[in-house]
Symmetry: C2
Subunit: 261 residues, 2 copies
């Protein structure tokens, strides 16, 4: 454990004036899923003073839009900028906050947070999520406080507070959405094979899919262009390459894969 | 305008102690759509002191779950109990609150709200929505404050603050959802005709649908049982009656009309 030092200026400000700067009792948490070459990962922050991982989260400034706060928090805590974040749920249990998280942070500097301080209150949090290619973004260097990293979704240990619950709900939302909206653009190479597309779905759904059904369904959506090229080099018969049909993909994003009424 | 009287005790409490009872800076608003016999309506509260209609909304108690607060607020303000409310979006613009709404309420009693009072702050609101048969619920008698009523969705005038925006977003969510989840149970009579089911969709979507396409798509979902009975009495050929297949309807509610992956 690090030797206690003087309370950093930003910690002092947060403690003493945070309730003048931020909306009190409400926060934002970001669940960023990263996919690349059949691996689904999640972006987590290492919270050193409680020795747990947590979602990148933070507060909303008094004059800041909640959406804008989510982007700002993600940028400040991980370095990630300009990805589309979708609000997916509010976590509103009166028991979800854990004041000891803040206490532990300040205790390292020998500071005890007063019971009536704004940090000790209940926080309702707004959950945002995104799914990106994790090789396309650069994470910030580890700060003196904590680091962030991509953790395999199947190897996530116990998280801070109710963050496991937030991740579950985000994953559930993602899995529901891919039943009726297209996915894959920016996650797969521009030209991809049907098995590569299937693997993307299988990784997100965490289950095996039938090859024939998958192919029939996928082609039925009408969002793919089959190229005359094949992928050379495998032991098997060279599989056809596909690209997404941009116009139809965009239409399906808007109206759903099965069309609107 | 009513003659100013003494400030009611509950108003005084809200003003002076509200920030000890409720989470500050966050509220809940409920968009309840009502359908019956081809009419889509929305449940609104008449806010007398600003002469506008508004969504039933309110605050979250310090020890109350956000979901529970939505149910409680709807019950207290409209009398409606035990309907399923779904959280659909957070409205987080820093400019959405309008302190004059509170000011006007208290001004009627000659009370000026101090600028630093919690009611004058910015509120982020969590939107919940529901779609029910409006003849199945009983609205509260009008109170001395304000009344509530079902207003035809096409005849809604200017609403308080950003409530028109909240209604639009709820309607958009509802219309998106019926592209991939079933609808109709508890909104149609137990036995219904295909034209009656089609009219439900047309009313919600606010557009005409092709009769043959609708029927083919609907039957394709496999959630209907066609009865051997027909609806007697019309000038046309008696149309077949249908019921929902409960088991398949429930499955489709969970997995979507097109099945999961």
């Amino acid at each position: 454990m690090a030797k206690p030092t003087k309370l950093p200026a930003d910690f002092k400000l947060l403690l003493e004036k945070g309730d003048k700067i931020y909306q009190t009792g409400i926060s934002v948490d970001c669940v960023v899923f990263g996919f690349h070459e059949n691996a689904l990962k999640i972006l987590l922050i290492k919270v050193n003073y409680i020795n747990k991982w947590a979602l990148p989260g933070g507060f909303i400034q008094k004059d800041e839009n909640v959406d804008a706060a989510a982007y700002q928090i993600l940028k400040e805590r991980t370095g990630i900028n300009n990805i589309f974040l979708q609000e997916f749920s509010v976590f509103g249990s009166p028991h979800r906050s854990d004041a000891s998280v803040h206490q532990n942070r300040y205790q390292e500097y020998g500071v005890k947070i007063p019971k009536d301080n704004w940090l000790m209150q209940r926080f309702i949090t707004v959950g945002y999520f995104a799914l990106i290619d994790f090789t396309e973004v650069e994470l910030m260097q580890e700060s003196y406080l904590e680091g962030c990293n991509w953790i395999d979704i199947n190897k996530v240990g116990p998280l801070m507070m109710d963050h496991e619950n937030i991740v579950s709900k985000a994953l559930e939302t993602l899995r529901n959405q891919i039943a009726y909206t297209p996915i894959g653009k920016n996650l797969l190479p521009k030209k991809f094979t049907m098995p590569e597309l299937q693997k993307l779905y299988e990784t997100i759904l965490n289950k095996k899919l039938d090859r024939r059904n998958f192919q029939r369904k996928m082609i039925g959506f009408g969002i793919l262009n089959r190229l005359s090229e094949t992928r050379k080099g495998g032991a098997h018969k060279a599989p056809f390459l596909y690209t997404f049909n941009d116009k139809k993909y965009q239409k399906a994003l808007k109206e759903g894969l099965y069309g609107s009424w």
